[in-house]
Symmetry: C2
Subunit: 245 residues, 2 copies
């Protein structure tokens, strides 16, 4: 059976302006690869409700899962929860269990929940909460859309609490072989090998180090024997092969 | 007049698998901010022609410019040029000027152009070449779609040669003010300030350092006087304000 598929939706002007470099996508990509969920697309959109709604609706219909990061804090530019409610056409309001979780983060409990902080307990109707072990303000899953924080440390713990609940596929295994020759010298042989292993993804990634050109060959697939066979074929074809991992 | 808009399309399985972290988007975002072109969306898609074609066609109709990175090397998984030709419905073939540029990179000149290397001289009909000061294999612009390499060093020099030819807008200026209080304590006042400056983007970014929580307020816009006024309003509203840049 084919692995479940996924898309990542990064929400935030700060990524598009170049102020911040997105780190959550790379972390998500690595975790999904381990759990056999295939990340197939990433989008970054600004803090604009119509853009978020359009992207969520396009992606949730196309992939098994959609993961989002960003825009669930207490300030005026945090509009992700409302946008998700709008995308699904459901109401949104402060939910008791989310409010209680939030209150547990403050010395004064519920009494410390200002209007701004209460924004973080607004959850679209029908969503399931995602635990936030750091600052308590929860994320949530609305059907197949998993809404998480943009702060990397919090994104990491939310994903950690979410992933065990999702149906996993077969982990994608990879072998990397380094060739100390330029990519153009390996292209033809590599195309033949790729053709001989149609069920694997065989990529080639040029690099330069100390002024010399080289190429990393990455063989990826879910069948270990097949991945090993293809890695062997690369080794046999190229004298310069160094098995990296 | 509003600034020109742009989207970035990153093409590559290696980003989606988590093998590589995309660095080109962050560089592009910073350069576009300086030149007054508003980056409005980013997508990452796999090395699959239909996905590339669909994304290119969606983005080129929506934004002034589309920048792509990845998939223009000599190997079987480099399918970007063909996908762009397919998206525009034009033929593609080896072009003499691209071939000559490419040949200049090899000791033996044209005689060194193997079939694999010649792939890098295949240019969709009607495109303009983008100079590659490093390894010579050119990128190209097809109407408003600018196709560049995925290797970060080459992406950087291609963008450098391309940007002066594009119509620039007004650079987006920003002021960052650090507040040594959690985001939830500044939310209400900040919402009032944001409402008072509807032409500016005012964002709030929580951070934690040495176990203490703080918030960066970023004021962005093209009108320097307005940006300064809003930054002043933030300073006046919060005792803890520290002007960072």
């Amino acid at each position: 059976m084919a692995n479940p598929t996924a898309a990542m939706l990064v929400i935030g002007d700060e990524i598009l302006s170049g102020r911040t470099q997105d780190a959550n996508t790379h972390h998500l990509a690595q975790e999904l690869t381990k759990t056999g969920i295939d990340l197939r697309e990433v989008r970054v959109v600004p803090d604009v409700q119509s853009e978020i709604v359009d992207a969520v609706n396009a992606l949730r219909r196309k992939y098994t899962h959609v993961f989002t990061s960003g825009g669930i804090g207490p300030t005026h530019d945090d509009i992700t929860a409302d946008s998700i409610a709008a995308a699904f056409g459901v109401p949104i309001g402060v939910r008791a269990d989310a409010r209680d979780l939030l209150a547990s983060n403050y010395a004064g409990g519920t009494a410390d929940l200002t209007e701004a902080r209460l924004r973080m307990a607004r959850i679209p109707e029908g969503a399931r909460l995602i635990v936030n072990a750091i600052s308590k303000a929860p994320g949530f899953s609305m059907e197949n859309v998993h809404v998480m924080a943009g702060v990397p440390a919090i994104f990491v713990v939310m994903l950690e609490s979410l992933l065990p609940d999702l149906t996993h596929g077969q982990p994608v295994l990879s072998r990397t072989i380094r060739l100390d020759v330029p990519e153009s010298q390996v292209a033809e042989t590599l195309a033949d090998i790729a053709q001989a292993f149609p069920d694997l993804s065989i990529g080639s990634y040029p690099f330069s180090m100390y002024g010399k050109y080289g190429t990393n060959i990455v063989v990826r697939g879910t069948d270990k024997a097949l991945v090993d066979d293809a890695a062997m074929a690369v080794n046999v074809a190229f004298d310069e092969a160094v098995n990296v991992d």
